[in-house]
Symmetry: D3
């Protein structure tokens, strides 16, 4: 049993609140235990400069990630002079993960930016950003009207969710909170497509890091199986939140 | 009657939610109409470098202000390379306003940073930041324990709140939303202490700006009277939110 | 009587020297007591990027403010990596104040930049920047020839000047020098149009800040009356300096 | 058969030249096909600021990664204003990978910086940086003399090497060059300890990314097996280069 | 005869005004033709960080150079984000030139910063900065009182002045103004100590640059002779300005 | 005799290796004693923004200079936030020197960037950068094909090389290494065109700096003669390296 009473393979309570604000077409407040992330998705009817010269420029999806200063104790210094390496790495991961399930040609010549701002940080901020960011992205795509607008499904090839896990004191745990994460010997973040019918989801990103030790092929396999369980549950929660908008 | 049905001298519906997150000792989500600001207050048991060499360094209160990219449409570019002039000016105002009611010697050698992050922007973000930031600051002061801890009141000499107003199409309106503000000929932000007994509050900051016209001495006096009404109501709302913590 | 022998309602000796340099069409060295500011105004036959896409782009007036390192003791660090918050706030104020009296449509699609560089700082740098910057701006406008050139008056709707005042040791003083300003309990900067015929000028900006205390409605009224006196005298000095160029 | 004549499971020709320069105690020029990386390791008899306040500060190993402008065509813009996200992410990976095999307490209160500067880039720059950086790190550790100096082995718990692989046109290939990498559907970087006796190495980092598709659990397993083959060969090459210095 | 009526070997009219401001102990406004530079010298009773750990830290003299935006037409963009290469190069030259005549041990553990701010630029800004900066430096040294104070001469080993010259349309001219300088085929800046008794001054810096052509050994010799003439005259002007303070 | 056994007028052993990498059309590894610089030259079929509006834009040659962190001991901090003044000054010198021998009209509307990255620094990095950079530039020009391509010679008006020299302990030495350079009283860098037939080369840049002393006209003449010897030898080495490509 874990400090917060969870089983090793149990996610924290997750809530996904859509349309949290009205200033962005996609606006999702996702909570996982004490971690709270606001994911907003904005549509810009333009493409990045490096796509401008293409003959038929396709669309683009990008992400930014930041932690509010008050999201952690002691207070995190605001990234006003330069983005720190960790934020940069995380927002690149979020962007790649979301792009993996979007058909850019169907999206058309526009850019969607998914901003993930961490309001409270207790572990798992990058995986919740992907899981919630996908829901905000769906809403933003659904908001596109006029020329080139498309019903949601054809833009997406699948849904995407992410989960963390790790070895803590020799035990394999799903969805680590901060206390667990800071003591983890192995730390893993898995991004997968949602399972469909009876087919399991497939991998988009697998990132495993040993801190102060190493891990074997066998352990890796256990980790991957546990991740699948978590992704399946997260996909259900995304589906529930999206309701009719997401018809897979 | 205004677009949203308000009387000229009527505030938008205001809600003040304390302890919105647990990661900071002060954490207030303040909503005024469609404007939503998260004010967190963090305590650092240290003083700024320029106070270090003082013999008996007193405390310090400072503020930072930022708009989340998704708080406005079109999306606001993230201030990652440099803080823009407007944000810098606003956070200096917030800091001055909060410091005006704090006795730094009673606070003792520690720094409290009040972060005001705008989640949704529909006008009045700086005044709500001050009004909500004060409540977060009270909670942060109340959280201080150990040597030099003090019950809340002696640290504060008064409460503080802020309100905007302006001339729109020749009419004087209280608490402008974005649509009103962007069409205002005169734009005013007033920071005052809360009224006490039957004495009206006093001014901490008076900032009036004419956009494309000017205003007379008489008009200024009307504006100041209207502001007093707004500040009185905001002070009541702060008192309700703080309950027993604030015994004035 | 004040340290420098002035009456409470007396300005410091002010001199306004036009055409101090030849490298800019407007170049004014303004001195107020020991404060010395060089205001140069440059004309660029282009509009800012955000005006480029307008159908009939109107003109623009902007300002930059900086203190030379040797203008103060101890030496002020040069703003080479980033502009500090105070400079940013002051230059925004100067820009707004000058724009308030310019008809941008008459100015035509060009940008005038007014640079205010403080050579010696002894209080009142922002108000002298506005007062001297206006004179430099008039000269710059007068220098415009060719298509769209206009005699000076139609571009301007009024003259503009600025003055500071404050409560020092309980007494209300006009045009504070540094020693007075650093001990002021209330600090006020007023920007007004010049009086015309027997009509008093009107307000463009009112900025009052209490440092460590507050001020009442009555006190504010006294302050505003004192400011009017100062603005009237500054307007005369601007008129004398401009001579025939300014025909109001 | 691949464009350059290799088998799918074959590394490019690798050469590891130690003591390429004399200005750093560790200086390794590693070549893998047309990719050429200079890895230098410098010892600073100090610890990072955040370790300074520890009672018995242990050592630290960090890495920086950069591509020379001429290492690629078209020329890569020099990172002089800010480090780009990709470089930041890669140097964090290199640092983590090297730290995973160092016992910081044995290293003692000093910092070793491993600089990986890419002289020519043809794919695999991050994996060669780790593989060559380890050799430079061993030489830097061996150069430490005086108090707290240690023979090499106790500082290291294992050797470390890294290899890339990917699915290109549906085929699984080891050690991708740039042409292969830019067309890869799945791209994987594996960091492992060297095999010891008959035990296979263990994982330090597993990073798999799908570009425009996904990959299944089965495919992941094939990828991991192929990586093991590459790591074993790279470990032999490191051992040959280090000769007597590395006595595992 | 030159455009402005000068002989080829004639300096522009030079004026050196000491104590132009009171905010710095050294404050010199130097004018050469239409070029106008304010040189202020500030004393800081501290040494740079890299001298802090020396047992008996000696003094330091450093310089900063900047052009005001209005000093040139079109307006020069303010160096607020980063110093440009030209300014950096010039201020390094000024610093080296002034340090060449100062005995840092006699100066004692303090730093003097000489700020050269160009108010109007018409060629020769770097040489006037050195020539005027020396005078400001002498005044700053003379202002030092208390422990370690010294009469001026022992701190200085000589005086220093600088002059420019160049080949324009095949003719060798002294002290180029902007129009001459921008058409010069060879551009030279010479920094020398002042002549003493009947001994000519010696070189501190010789910088000759060919623009679009080259120059021969013979031409170089002519240039050096011409420079000596200019330096001798500038040294007289410095002596006149300094009066009793400079007793060489 | 010098520490390394050289005569006072003797260069260090110089080697010039062309086509060191394949990623740039010009790629030269130049070694002078223990100093090692990689000079790569890249061709961009575009001109700088400030040439874009010319009617017949001519070409441009620019240079960048940087020291790798491991090129010196202690390690040099990477210039990632801003370029330091010394690097900026050196790369401006390299650029000017190379441009002096290029006919920009013949080069045509393209930009060649010569990157000089110091791999090991033992004095003379800027002069070797110019000497090696010229060879890389020749190869880059030779690589240009298609419209506007030209055989090498017409683009160049001469060859260019550079050498350092200085007074060390009162003796005049050619081509200083770091130990000599850091103790030099006078430090000189001379850039010249290569001698042609029996005509000596001419000067492009002459930069002489006295550190803590001064130098006389006579000494300057000795220095210039010694430089000529060095340049003549360097020109031979460039010719040998270039072989048939350089037909002067």
């Amino acid at each position: 049993m874990r400090h917060d009473g969870r089983q090793p393979d149990e996610l924290r309570p997750i809530t996904i609140q859509r349309q949290y604000t009205h200033s962005s077409p996609g606006s999702v407040l996702i909570r996982g235990g004490d971690t709270l992330v606001l994911c907003t998705a904005s549509v810009d009817e333009d493409v990045p400069p490096w796509k401008k010269n293409m003959e038929n420029p396709t669309g683009w999806v990008t992400a930014e990630y930041s932690m509010l200063p008050g999201s952690t104790s002691p207070r995190k210094r605001r990234e006003r002079n330069k983005i720190d390496g960790r934020s940069s790495e995380i927002q690149r991961l979020i962007g790649r993960s979301l792009r993996a399930v979007v058909d850019m040609a169907v999206l058309g010549p526009r850019t969607i930016t998914v901003d993930c701002d961490v309001i409270q940080a207790d572990g798992g901020t990058r995986t919740l950003s992907i899981t919630g960011g996908f829901v905000a992205l769906v809403d933003a795509v659904a908001s596109i009207t006029g020329e080139g607008a498309s019903t949601v499904p054809p833009v997406f090839t699948a849904s995407v969710a992410a989960v963390s896990l790790g070895h803590v004191n020799g035990e394999l745990l799903l969805d680590l909170n901060y206390a667990e994460d800071s003591g983890a010997e192995v730390d893993m973040n898995i991004v997968m497509t949602g399972p469909n019918d009876d087919l399991p989801g497939e991998y988009i990103e697998v990132q495993g890091t040993a801190e102060g030790r190493t891990f074997s092929h066998e352990q890796l396999n256990e980790q991957l199986s546990l991740a699948e369980t978590g992704i399946a549950r997260l996909t259900e929660l995304q589906q529930e939140a999206l309701g009719d908008v997401w018809p897979l």
